[in-house]
């Protein structure tokens, strides 16, 4: 068994209105930041996993995304990295 750190990014689907992102976009405009065309607000999940291999850790993380971490109706997920912990 080795220990891995997996990073998952969960984002609202493009077709779903993201009012939180819009509020942040508006606030950035109020602060004087020009050129903010869009803001989408999602969620980052960091998992520390004990697994036999990086592939096994990746498989486990993907199943966790499908089962719990993202709602397939409203969100997309990306498994960004799976790396051995130091």
């Amino acid at each position: 068994m080795s220990r891995f750190r997996a990073r998952v990014r969960v984002m609202p689907r493009p077709s779903i209105l993201d009012p939180a992102g819009r509020a942040v976009s508006h606030a950035l405009g109020e602060l004087g930041f020009a050129g903010v065309a869009d803001v989408r607000l999602g969620r980052a999940v960091e998992l520390v996993l004990d697994a036999a291999s990086a592939d096994a850790a990746r498989d486990g993380a993907l199943r966790m995304c499908e089962r719990l971490l993202a709602n397939p109706v409203t969100e997309d997920f990306v498994l960004e990295t799976v790396e051995p912990t130091a």
Binding site: S15, P19, L69, T74
Partner: protein, 221 residues
């Protein structure tokens, strides 16, 4: 008739649902979320609240509670299940109802009385209403915007599965003004507004009381 009200950690409308069930003449009981037994209930109510603090997404963690296996079996047997507000979110997360409840379009928590139109009386919970009837009930939610893909929405409309719709203003940006829906079997109903908070005139409206008076169910409908 026995109505079981499920209690999750963070449920906060359980006592109101219990009182509404009793007022409707039912024998009400509470079922703790760790239980795998509904105590022989005819009807299950998943009440409003913020179960598990709404962590991750409202209902996302509650759907894996032990009691949800019993609720799924109850639903699969064609027996009535009502999810109110947070209970509706749990039913969607559990895939006992299609779609999802997203953050309110206007971002703010909405707590006020809304007007609903009954779109279908062909569920155990709306059998005592008539189609087109307008009901006054409070909403109180931050994540009540019903969303689903277009084919799902079209199918809900085609199969007469939109149960209640917001009229005179949509409080959360719900697609097609949907406030409540039912499943294919028409025995599982979820809605964002709170019928249990509109169950006697002292509360400002008694329009929700009939939702707990499921006379037909006892006869095996």
């Amino acid at each position: 008739m026995k109505i079981a009200v499920v209690r999750f950690p963070g449920s906060n409308c359980d006592a109101d649902a219990f009182a509404a069930a009793e007022a409707a003449g039912a024998e009400a009981s509470y079922v703790w979320h760790r239980s795998t037994d509904l105590g022989g209930a005819d009807v299950v109510v998943l009440p409003g609240g913020f179960c598990y603090g709404d962590y991750l997404r409202p209902g996302a963690i509650a759907r894996f509670s032990p009691v949800m296996r019993a609720v799924a079996a109850h639903a699969a047997a064609g027996r009535p299940v009502l999810g109110i507000c947070n209970g509706f979110q749990v039913l969607c997360e559990a895939q006992l109802l299609p779609g999802a409840l997203a953050r309110n379009g206007g971002l703010s928590f909405v707590c006020r009385t809304v007007t609903l139109r009954v779109e279908s009386d062909a569920t155990p919970f709306t059998a005592r209403y008539r189609v087109g009837q307008e009901l006054r009930m409070p909403v109180a939610h931050g994540d009540g915007r019903y969303v689903a893909d277009e084919p799902t929405l079209d199918r809900l409309e085609r199969e007469d599965r939109v149960v209640v719709r917001y009229v005179n203003g949509n409080p959360n940006g719900a697609m097609r003004d949907i406030a409540g829906i039912t499943n294919e079997g028409r025995n599982v109903v979820g809605l964002m507004p709170h019928p249990e908070r509109a169950a006697e005139s002292l509360l400002g409206s008694s329009d929700g009381a009939a939702m707990f008076a499921l006379a037909a169910v006892a006869a095996g409908v």
